[in-house]
Amino acid sequence: MKAMEENYELAKWLAGEMTEAELITFQNTPEYATYAKIAEYSSELKAPDFDHDLLYQNTITRKKPVQKVIPLYQSKWMKIAAVFVLFLALGLYFKTTVTSTEIAENGKKINFSLPDNSQIVLNSGSEIQYKKWNWANNRKLDLNGEAYFRVAHGKKFEVNTKLGTVTVLGTQFNVKARENRFDVTCYEGRVKIVHNNHEVIITKGTSVTFDADSFEKQSIQNDKPEWTVNQIVFKKEKLQHILDEIQRQYDCEIILNSKENLQLFTGTLPSDNIKTALDIVSATYHLKISKFENKKIILEDF
């Protein structure tokens, strides 16, 4: 018991709870001087100051103590998420803005489907551009050359060319826009054509031709364009345009060394036999094939 009492006597002294007798005894010990100094100097110590008012304001407004903030950009997962979002955004951007292009080079024809299953046959030396994104609600495409369309039923289908615009619902039609000549033939349904502010609606079995200054409407018998079955049909066509078409179909080069011949040609040429095609043209225009090699043809007056 006595040992226990002794153990805490320093605490008693520090709290001023020693009796007179105890204090005198303690003051006579050699350690007392140091203890007295410790007591004196330790009461002069101070903890660092702090802002009571700020703490109070933060408390009363229930602001939680400031957490250690890890900036978003330093978090690994945020980095991964950011890259992911970036790719997603880029993907969406390209999907909405980038156009799909189908090209049929000279000597080739291609057949392809649009997202709504509309069928397109693209004639040689032609090009179509369209946007796959949201196609069903925005059926618009740009045509350069000639193409045959079998349009699936749906919203307005629009073919834009340099020469004019063709608008349809569900139908089959052919559009040919070459040089200054714009031919549209309707095989099924109704087609609306706008050319130089001139609006025409044609129905099944009708063909219209807009030239630089003329407009002509004809009836047709076929149920699809001849070129899709390897025939090239010309109606009142100029020689130069016929040769252009042959060059596209056979992917060759034709040089015409002849006087100007304004005779117009109406007839059919094969698109799978160049010799026959050239023979027919030569016979009609009194020309001869002076050279025929390696996709290079020279035609001269007979």
């Binding site: 320093l10 203890y35 100094k37 101070k46 660092p48 602001k63």
Partner: protein, 173 residues
């Protein structure tokens, strides 16, 4: 019930009075414990926020032990303790020492440094109890409530602290 409510810690005036009376002791207690001002301030604020949020459930006479319980619980997660840095009060002009000779002033400064070093040698329990008594002027029974220990245990810590301090200081001589 109504009477009790108007006297409750939820009244901002009462809360504010309680805050002023206790914030320094709590914050310095936490500082003596951790030696980190930021941590001490954060936990102090957290404790008072919890009291303010739960004021309806805490009777005013329990408020003090409530904030210390919150603070002690929050402290359980704090492991890394730093050295406690203390300053001496600037205006410690004891009348009997103002005209002391330079030699004495040097000795005095040396003792202060020794005391600071010795304090850093105390255990966390001893240091907290000792500094609460010396700096905050808390009575042993008040310290006992803060630390949630008995008065005897506080006395034991103070006693042990004094012995350690004296031995350390005399070693430096």
């Amino acid at each position: 019930m109504d009477q009790k409510d108007s006297n409750s810690i939820c009244e901002e005036l009462i809360f504010s009075g309680f805050f002023k009376a206790n914030v320094k002791a709590l914050r310095n207690y936490l500082y003596f414990k951790f030696g980190n001002e930021e941590k001490a301030n954060d936990i102090t604020q957290e404790s008072f926020i919890k009291l303010w949020e739960n004021c309806k459930n805490v009777p005013i006479e329990k408020a003090k032990s409530y904030i210390y319980t919150i603070a002690n619980n929050a402290s359980l997660n704090e492991i890394a303790h730093q050295k406690v840095v203390l300053r001496y009060a600037q205006n410690n002009t004891h009348n009997d020492r103002t005209n002391q000779n330079p030699e004495f002033l040097i000795e005095e400064e040396q003792f202060r440094q020794k005391l600071e070093k010795a304090i850093s040698k105390l255990t966390e329990a001893q240091r907290t109890a000792f500094l609460l008594h010396r700096i905050e002027g808390k009575k042993y029974h008040e310290i006992a409530i803060m630390l949630d220990i008995s008065v005897k245990a506080v006395e034991k810590r103070i006693h042990g602290a004094l012995i350690t301090l004296r031995t350390e200081i005399e070693q430096f001589k």
